[in-house]
């Protein structure tokens, strides 16, 4: 007859169920495998979409920071960090650091377009994420992050116009923002190594000639052969800066094995989403 035997149907159903469970198991094992190969990652964020990145990265940076010591006494008003950036060169490193700051502190983020620029593509207007629900009450936030797209020759940061001169250049602003998250390594040799990689990233990887870039990529490959991150066992500003400069460069073609592995590890940490979104 034309009907399927109910026993066969039941068998098929059990088969489907077993296959489904096998797929689930495969996904879970893949996730765990990534955890094993990526230092410091709690779980592969790209596999589990239900997991928000809220809790995963606070433990990334060890050591404590004191906002009052770094930014001056809290006078009961929003401490607003102002960054003037040229829309032709979006500062990816700073966007990543902004994401990390938002996980550590209550940050009020705003984006403005300065009158020196006639218009800006929409992704640059939304690069700091959606407007905070409490943005009508500025004083409820610990930190302000005000990004102004402006026709400036060099990126600059302003904070306290009476007590601080402006900070120029993405590398230097990145150092300032990073210190709000975690102190530099106490070992001076290690701290210098981090600084050296940050400068290499900005001045040679992002801005350098093809020869310089190739040389840096070789240096990256050999450094990453010695340890999982650029400054050794710990993820640092060096990794953030070099990853973003590499990304901005777009030279994904001939990347050596160690560098590729390191890039995947960076991505698994889940902080580089905003930077990648901007480059789409």
């Amino acid at each position: 007859n034309g009907d399927v035997d109910p026993a066969v149907k039941a068998l098929e159903a059990r088969q489907d169920e077993i296959l489904r469970k096998l797929y689930e198991l495969k996904a879970a094992v893949e996730g765990l495998a990534k955890t094993v190969t990526t230092p410091d990652a709690d779980l592969d964020v790209t596999v589990s979409s239900s997991l928000s990145s809220q809790s995963s990265s606070c433990a990334i940076f060890k050591g404590t920071t004191n906002l009052d010591a770094l930014l001056g006494e809290d006078l009961g008003a929003l401490r607003d960090i102002v960054i003037n950036a040229n829309p032709a060169q979006p500062p990816l490193t700073l966007l990543v650091l902004h994401g990390l700051l938002c996980q550590r502190y209550r940050v009020l983020s705003t984006v403005h377009v300065h009158s020196s620029v006639s218009s800006v593509p929409p992704q640059l207007l939304s690069c700091l994420g959606p407007k905070h629900a409490d943005s009508y009450a500025r004083h409820m936030f610990q930190l302000g992050f005000t990004l102004i797209w402006k026709d400036v020759p060099k990126l600059e940061m302003k904070f306290s116009v009476c007590n601080m001169c402006p900070i120029e250049g993405e590398a230097n602003v990145a150092r300032f923002l990073f210190k709000l998250l975690a102190p530099y390594p106490s070992d001076p040799a290690l701290a210098t190594l981090v600084d050296s990689w940050v400068d290499t990233g900005f001045y040679q990887l992002a801005d350098g000639s093809t020869k310089e870039r190739a040389a840096v990529l070789r240096a990256l490959n050999s450094a990453l052969g010695r340890g999982p991150w650029l400054s050794g066992p710990e993820f640092s500003l060096a990794d953030i800066a070099c990853y973003c400069c590499l990304l901005q460069n777009g030279s994904a073609s001939s990347i050596a094995a160690n560098v590729q592995g390191w890039m995947k590890s960076c991505e698994n940490l889940g902080h580089f989403g905003p930077a990648k979104l901007l480059l789409k």
Binding site: T110, S115, S118, Y136, A137, S160, N163
Partner: protein
């Protein structure tokens, strides 16, 4: 034929080899065949146009005259002929046009409000009295009362452009006794910041319209009165009063948390904001309740502060606005707290007794906005026939 006479000319238009630098039409000449004098000007002009257009510094150096403000204002018809004056008032016309167009696009309705009123609307003493048949009446200090009545009459979003009369004996660079007020009032749905956003967006559209379509006029004015170009941010920068006080404290100013900002402090604050954010236009939100008029809505989360705001251009105040008290009971209480006679404002309070939506607004002075946008230093330059305590003509 005397200077400034009006003539009709029949002529041949001929191309020229060399550019004629002193004319606006530089590539052709008129070879006159017949000329008629339509209106003959008197030979002795009260002021020379070349002198009126000369920048101040230049005149002193070369021994040539410039014209002082009183002479200009006494002979306004001739003074308005200068390229600078023409540019200023064409730009002013643009401001009005952009104001109307932007608000109309946002769904606002233009209203006309009465200027002869029976009681001082703001409760202040600076009103002109006019004889009204057998009694007297006053000239309106602002369209405030009527804007609000329109909101209570279900118009939702309104604006009006009209004269405002202030009998203040202030002889300053930025006060007039009669000026053109551009006023906005609107009901909001969730938060009075919707009102701030509407007003600031309107201002930004005006600034953009001037930046993009009136560059020639701006450059002409700058030739005689050099100034820095006007800078702004979109969306507009909004700071809270506590932030302003913190910035001033940091700069060494001594003031209490609930003190009002003095004019020098406003100017200093403008410079600090300009230094940090590079904008000539910003909003200061959440003023202390104690320094605002009785009809200002208090901050529900903090009784020391209010849902009110000021806006500044180049460090000078151009707008004072707020969410209004729309509850008759609360309004009476606030008025009593300010020791205002409830009888005098009975009809105002009555407007809110039969259903009133939460609303807010603010108003700007056309002359002051033009003056500050162009970086000029006296509001009489942007008022065609200015009125102040010492001047009633022309």
């Amino acid at each position: 034929i005397t200077k400034e006479s009006i003539v009709d000319v029949e002529a041949m238009v001929r191309k020229v080899e060399q550019k004629i630098e002193s004319c606006s039409q530089q590539d052709v000449e008129l070879h006159i065949e017949r000329i008629f004098v339509i209106s003959q000007a008197e030979p002795r002009l009260p002021l020379q146009l070349e002198d009126a257009v000369r920048p101040d510094g230049e005149g002193e150096e070369e021994g040539r005259a410039t014209v002082n403000q009183d002479t200009r204002l006494d002979n306004r018809v001739i003074d308005l002929r200068t390229t600078t004056s023409q540019a200023i008032f064409r730009l002013q016309s643009g401001v009005c046009q952009l104001f109307r167009d932007t608000l109309t696009k946002k769904g606002f309705v233009e209203i006309q409000t009465p200027k002869i009123i029976s009681a001082a609307s703001e409760g202040g003493a600076n009103v002109f009295t006019v004889s009204y048949f057998k009694s007297s009446a006053y000239l309106a200090q602002s369209p405030q009362l009527y804007k609000q009545m329109c909101i209570c009459a279900d118009f939702d979003k309104v604006f009006c452009v009209g004269p405002v009369f202030r009998a203040e004996d202030s002889n300053t660079h930025r006060h007039l006794t009669e000026f053109v007020g551009l006023d906005i009032e609107m009901a909001f749905n969730y938060h009075y910041h919707e009102v701030i956003d509407s007003i600031t967006d309107t201002m930004v559209q005006i600034f953009k319209g001037l930046r993009d379509n009136f560059q020639a006029e701006i450059q002409t004015v700058n030739k005689q009165f050099p100034s820095e170009p006007f800078k702004f941010l979109e969306p507009t920068l909004r700071l809270e009063y506590t932030e302003a006080v913190a910035m001033l404290h940091e700069a060494g100013v001594e003031m209490g948390d609930e003190d009002d900002l003095s004019t020098p402090n406003e100017k200093l604050l403008g410079r600090l904001v300009k230094e940090k954010y590079d904008t000539d236009f910003y909003v200061l939100d959440k003023y202390p309740l104690a320094v605002r008029p009785f009809y200002t809505m208090p901050d529900p989360n903090n009784p020391k502060y209010s849902n009110s705001y000021d806006m500044f251009m180049r460090g000078e105040e151009i707008l004072s606005g707020a969410q209004r008290v729309h509850d008759a009971q609360l309004l009476s209480e606030r008025a009593q707290h300010h020791q205002i006679d409830l009888e005098k404002i009975k009809s105002y309070i009555d407007s809110f007794r039969f259903g009133a939506p939460p609303h807010g607004g603010g108003g700007i002075g056309l002359e002051r906005v033009c003056m500050l946008y162009l970086g000029l230093h006296n509001v009489r330059q942007t008022s065609m026939f200015p009125r102040d305590p010492k001047r009633l003509t022309p």
